[in-house]
Amino acid sequence: MGLKLSRRQFFKVCATGLATSSVAALGFTPNAALAEVREFKLSGAKETRNTCPYCSVSCGVLMYSLGSNAKNAKQEIFHIEGDPDHPINRGTLCPKGAALLDFVHSSSRLRRPEYRPNGASDWQPISWEEAFERIARHMKSDRDRNFEATNEQGATVNRWLSCGMLAASASSNESGYLTHKFARSIGLLAFDNQARV
């Protein structure tokens, strides 16, 4: 054919270009279309693939949000449905998954760490820093008290049975691997992670 041209050429349709397009070349007037465009405004939306957090089936979901990709633009999720491409659920969701939008926008949704002191009836907000400190402190004290390096027969067991850990379903293989390494290396045996699926 003798033509050395890339298939990936662009098909530019722009306001100034309409005057050279087929519309004008064939004798039709593009003026009304051009006038109309000036009245229009663009809006942005996003579709995001995610994993339902409820159970270990880990159904794929598509989350629809308004607001463009621009930095600082506030994203507002307005619809969630099963991911039609997902090999596990092919677009379907159970009643709990189908109600995920209410879960996202729930007024009682936990948005920050909270703490209820012994004997108190109310929860009080604390910072992430404080929360990490307290959890680490409690874990360390409990582990120091209850860690077993050997059993009655003297065999090495290195276990910590007074503490357990539960991790989430929407984890990648990599975060599952790290979670597992963390839990086992401090001796935790009571450990479930829904990322096992």
Binding site: A25, L26, L42, N69
Partner: protein
């Protein structure tokens, strides 16, 4: 609901939707419906008349040779589209073009269109083939924008005719996801289907032979990125047509959501939403899907 769902199985994704015999009739009807009160009314009616002429031409267009089973097998093995636009020079479409031009009602056309139609009638095959080569190479600016819709329409009839003869057998599984598995052309738009086994699935629609093939949602159909995909649409519209924009390669392709409007048709609804193109262009995204019934010039 399919039995496999009730039995606890997961239904497989239909990967391919062959082109339909009614493609031009449906397109003509949709263009006609869209034209009513539209800012581009005259052009949509012109495109509708052209699609109607294509439908009539498809009925009388001679059977062109298609690959035999051995050749189809060869294409399957090597991931080549069986009706590739890169193969030997197609024959017969030039006569088809003449019949298309004759089928158009001259009285309904502007004088410029009549002049271009007459010019095409007198054109020799070499010049027509040059236009065809430019079109298939994606060099849209090299073709006279007045001639392009006629050339494109004639080539569509030729390829739809061949694709119809092959049906399901026309698809070669190994073709790059961004090109038609039947003819290797770039897709015009994406369509998210509604209902049945294809509920919510996205298919790319071939700009030439109208075959459709499945590609997962939320993925750039140009560079395959799944990061930073956004969807732009005209505020206040029913957002049935959006521009799927990729921040990685800065391109976009329109995506039609049939659950918002089940009557939409790839080429017709693309032509009826050029305003979206103009606005998205201003945002710095470049369009990758050609529409053979319109040249941007």
């Amino acid at each position: 609901m399919p039995d496999s769902v009730l039995a606890g199985g997961v239904p497989s994704i239909p990967e391919f939707r062959p082109t339909r015999k009614s493609v031009f009739t449906d397109r003509a009807q949709r263009l006609r419906d869209l034209a009513d009160g539209h800012a581009m009314q005259e052009y949509l009616l012109f495109a509708s008349a052209l699609a109607r002429a294509q439908a009539a031409e498809l009925e009388v267009y001679p059977d062109t040779p298609v690959p035999d089973p051995a050749q189809l097998e060869h294409c399957q093995q090597h991931g080549l589209p069986p009706l590739s636009i890169d193969s030997a020079q197609p024959a017969g479409w030039q006569q088809g073009l003449l019949r298309l031009l004759d089928a158009l009602n001259q009285d309904a056309l502007p004088p410029e269109a009549v002049r271009i139609a007459n010019e095409l009638r007198d054109e020799d095959n070499t010049a027509l083939e040059r236009d065809q080569e430019h079109m298939f190479a994606g060099a849209y600016a090299e073709i006279d924008s007045g001639r392009a819709p006629f050339i494109g329409a004639a080539l569509q009839v030729h390829w739809v005719k061949m694709a119809l003869r092959l049906g399901e057998r026309g698809r070669s599984a190994g073709v790059d996801f961004g090109l038609c598995p039947v003819c290797g052309s770039p897709p015009v738009v994406s369509v998210v289907r509604s209902g049945g086994a294809e509920q919510g699935l996205r298919y790319l629609v071939c700009s030439l032979c109208a075959s459709e093939w499945h590609v997962v949602r939320v993925k750039c159909t140009s560079c395959a990125s799944t990061k930073n995909i956004s969807y732009l649409f005209i505020e206040g519209s029913n957002d049935a047509v959006k521009a799927e924009c990729c921040d990685e390669c800065k391109t976009y392709r329109k995506i039609l959501y049939l659950d918002k409007d089940n009557h939409m048709e790839s080429i017709a609804d693309d032509l009826a939403t050029l305003a979206l193109d103009m606005l998205v262009d201003q945002k710095g995204f470049r369009r990758v899907g050609p529409n053979l019934l319109l040249s941007p010039g």
